[in-house]
């Protein structure tokens, strides 16, 4: 009986030690401590952050310029439309009709 209880405790202790080891290995403490200490990775991270900040600035600039371009395009399109209307109105031939009156003057090949 005593031997059985002792075995049970031994098995339980073995399982406990096994899971404890598993958790300890699964946490991979050597990876974290290693990456923090590598200066190349730290530099890369810094550079990534700088590039991200720059891309945000560039994106803002592009958005601002795109908005300016769109506004200018709308203005230019409205100017072209107005000019086209004016030109169409200007190009409109005056009313003319065939009559049977004697002509004051005549046109000919110029």
């Amino acid at each position: 009986m005593t031997n059985q209880v002792g075995r049970l405790y031994s098995v339980a202790l073995g399982l406990f030690v096994f899971f404890l080891t598993w958790v300890a290995i699964g946490a991979r403490p050597w990876v974290a401590s290693g990456s923090q200490s590598d200066p190349r990775l730290a530099a890369l991270e810094k550079r990534e952050q700088r590039v991200r900040r720059q891309s945000v600035v560039v994106q803002r600039l592009v958005n601002r310029r795109w908005a300016t371009y769109r506004a200018q395009l709308r203005q230019r399109q409205s100017q072209i439309a107005a000019a086209s209307q004016a030109q169409a109105a200007a190009a409109q031939a005056p009313p003319v009709r065939v009559v049977s009156l004697p002509p004051v003057t005549s046109t000919r090949t110029s």
């Binding site: 003319v96 046109t107 110029s110």
Partner: protein
């Protein structure tokens, strides 16, 4: 009471009409304006501003030459290049190298075709011509002068100016004769302009071949259009001159289609002797 005056300028007969009495001052001013513009725009006088531009390639010019070149370049765009002020070398190459009065009717001179459509840049009051580009503003210059003269005369009363077929009307109602294959047709104009382009007058022969002054800029040679003559009514004499030339070069079918589409009254006389009305004219 109508007053009129006739004189020669720009190589053609000019007629001024005004529906008012005592308009001598206005008629004098209009006549002076024609001579002034001729001295600026002609290609036949080496001292004209246009000749100096053609010679020097880049020149600060006065407001009239600047405006006519601007109008001509705009017209080049509007007519898809069928009207083009850069036809100078092509016209000269075809033999029209002096005033029409001095031009021999027949000669054996070699006819040379030229490429047209070169670059002309306007920068402020400076005009710059591209390589081998020279300008001929003969037709459009007459239309411009007719408009300026009509404007001056209209201070005295309703006016009509006829610059060798390019007509500008400022006010009033004027019956104007148009020659057709069957006789003369009369159109009543109450404003705007009218112009006729054709190969029935300014033509000559070189090595037995008949040539004329209406150059197709696409080929740099006299246009082989199936039209003899075409008359256009438009918003002013400059516009009428531009479209008369462009539609003549386009030929009968395209000219009728485009005149109808633009609502531009036209009288067409075909080379085979038919008369067609287009652009709402009936």
């Amino acid at each position: 009471m109508m007053e009129s005056r006739r004189f020669k300028a720009m190589g053609t007969e000019i007629e001024l009409f005004v529906d008012a009495a005592g308009a001598d001052e206005a008629l004098d001013a209009a006549e002076r304006e024609f001579h002034r513009l001729e001295a600026t725009l002609t290609r036949f006088r080496p001292e004209s501003e246009l000749s100096r531009l053609n010679e020097e390639r880049s020149l600060e010019v006065g407001p009239d030459l600047l405006e006519v070149v601007r109008l001509a370049l705009e017209a080049r765009g509007r007519t898809d290049g069928r009207f083009d002020p850069t036809v100078h070398d092509a016209v000269v190459g075809a033999g029209y190298d002096r005033t029409f009065e001095e031009l021999p009717e027949e000669s054996t001179a070699v006819v040379v075709g030229w490429v047209c459509g070169g670059s002309v840049r306007i920068d402020g009051s400076r005009i710059e011509l591209g390589p081998d580009v020279r300008l001929d503003l003969g037709g459009i210059g007459k239309g411009y002068a007719a408009e300026r003269a009509a404007e001056l005369i209209s201070a005295a009363g309703p006016a009509l100016v006829n610059a060798g077929g390019d007509i500008a009307v400022h006010g009033g109602s004027w019956p104007v004769g148009v020659e057709t294959a069957e006789g003369e047709l009369t159109l009543e104009l109450t404003g705007g302009g009218l112009a006729t382009s054709g190969r029935d007058r300014r033509r000559w022969r070189r090595n037995g071949k008949e040539l004329h002054h209406l150059i197709d800029p696409a080929t740099g040679a006299p246009s082989p259009s199936d039209l003899l003559r075409l008359t256009v009514v438009a918003s002013d004499a400059v516009e009428a001159e531009v479209w008369a030339k462009a539609l003549y070069i386009a030929g009968e079918g395209e000219a009728v289609r485009e005149a109808d589409m633009r609502g531009m009254p036209c009288v067409l006389v075909t080379a085979d002797g038919r008369t067609r009305l287009a652009g709402g004219l009936s």
